[in-house]
Subunit: 314 residues, 2 copies
Amino acid sequence: MLYIGIDLGGTGIKAGVVDEKGVIIAKGSCPTAPERGYEAVIHDMAMLAIDVAKQSGHAMNEIKAIGIGLPGIMDPRSGRVPFCTNLAWHDVPLIAEMAKYTDVPVYADNDATVAGLAESVAGISAGCENSVFVTLGTGVGGGVVLGGRVFSGSHGVATEIGHMITVVDGEQCTCGNRGCWERYASATALIREGRRLCEAKPDTALARAVNGDLITINAKHVIDQAKAGDLDCLELFDRYVYHLCVGLVNLINLYDPQVIVLGGGVSHAGQFLLDAVRAKLPDMVFYKAMPYARVELAKLTNDAGIIGAAMLGR
Amino acid sequence: MLYIGIDLGGTGIKAGVVDEKGVIIAKGSCPTAPERGYEAVIHDMAMLAIDVAKQSGHAMNEIKAIGIGLPGIMDPRSGRVPFCTNLAWHDVPLIAEMAKYTDVPVYADNDATVAGLAESVAGISAGCENSVFVTLGTGVGGGVVLGGRVFSGSHGVATEIGHMITVVDGEQCTCGNRGCWERYASATALIREGRRLCEAKPDTALARAVNGDLITINAKHVIDQAKAGDLDCLELFDRYVYHLCVGLVNLINLYDPQVIVLGGGVSHAGQFLLDAVRAKLPDMVFYKAMPYARVELAKLTNDAGIIGAAMLGR
């Protein structure tokens, strides 16, 4: 059985024909150019799907389903996308628009959800019934798989794990609340704390690494200084890992998955991050004598969006 | 089809024969006396089960399953109870012990989970696929029903919602972490804050209501003063409701249930509590334009443990 997965991003659209096991057998891409409006973007998605099918040597009627991962949320009952901020989509009839170009059933879900599904089919959490994928990027996103299926809740608004409040009255979040986890566990948090460190200590290694140009600090700068053994950045990183573990413990206490997969930009810190999390987490779990989720790094990177989207229709 | 539900508490054991719809057709009880050891307690549970079956006019072979709700956790794979603090149980072979007395299949789960299941079968969340039951008592417990079934996670340690951290570096919790939700949303939190208020303001209405004997303050005292319009207790209660809503929003962001049911001692504040929560929650949810969980008070009270336990075997 074959599926088409479409990874819809703010900049580009990627699509691939994927088999039952999550292996990509053909792929292609095109620009998104969202300023053209949703009709044009959806038209191009459909054409790209037809194109990759042809490229794979299969007719569209051999494709069981088309799945789309998008940077927003999907209402599965209405077939509409209520919000997709990066694309400036509001209440877009995605499924109906796709149906203008193809008879193949179309499914869609949030991109973090889709990436989590990809890992659970063909990645580090392959074969796990229950897993949580955590993207540590500009924000913190989540993809929850329960019983081998994507969990999206009753109204499609579940797994907004980045907006779980972990610090009452904490940092102001874009969502209107204070102290959301993503204010503390995202790359953005590392950058903010790095800048604050440099403002307080203009002579610290991090400030010197960016020649005092604090606006250029990114998460990698902070992590690289910590890796190099700079005490200020190690302290900052340790506090970051504590906040990260607070949220991970909450995920364990609520979802009790077999695996938690860390993805997104900050996860490129690799083993350095994983070791720090694995050192801190055991003291924080509630049932210390019981087995609990192991924490792993994401394995699929660029193609997770295509594979996971394809698996939505499985 | 008939089921037996057993509500195992630290003081008493209650059991009942329950039909498919959650209606109790016979019930009985006996003391727990946990100091006798688990063998005697489990023996008495089995005898009580046989007794209520007889009382209902049905033979044990007409009973499809026995369910037990207990104040601890259950490992469904081993059939053992790893912890049950109130009964001083540690690694108790519950299922094997029950099998000494009856051939009827036995299931067990946490008492908050069981109460949540009862509400979802015969209570306020009846007919809902996805619901979260929150007990606001000495601690905060949770019962999560997803897809019409109890959700216990991969290792039986899920739905420890009271130990979700909402206040990093906050109040010390019995679990070893700081800032768990139950430190702020339980009856214990209302009592602690009531005492702190009276220490800071010895002439406040709450202090006068207990004749300055702060050790006697309970959650009802605090709520009654708030209901009576005392400004100090209203402020305290408002802050309590804020902390409660922080956790409820987290539950919505993670589980996205159709209904959140409030039970336990604090829920006896009734409409006063419900109105306060319903006034504060809408501003805190992430997707304000999308439907989200409605919040309700528990409907079943004393018999929730029997009904929910019985439904474990359904």
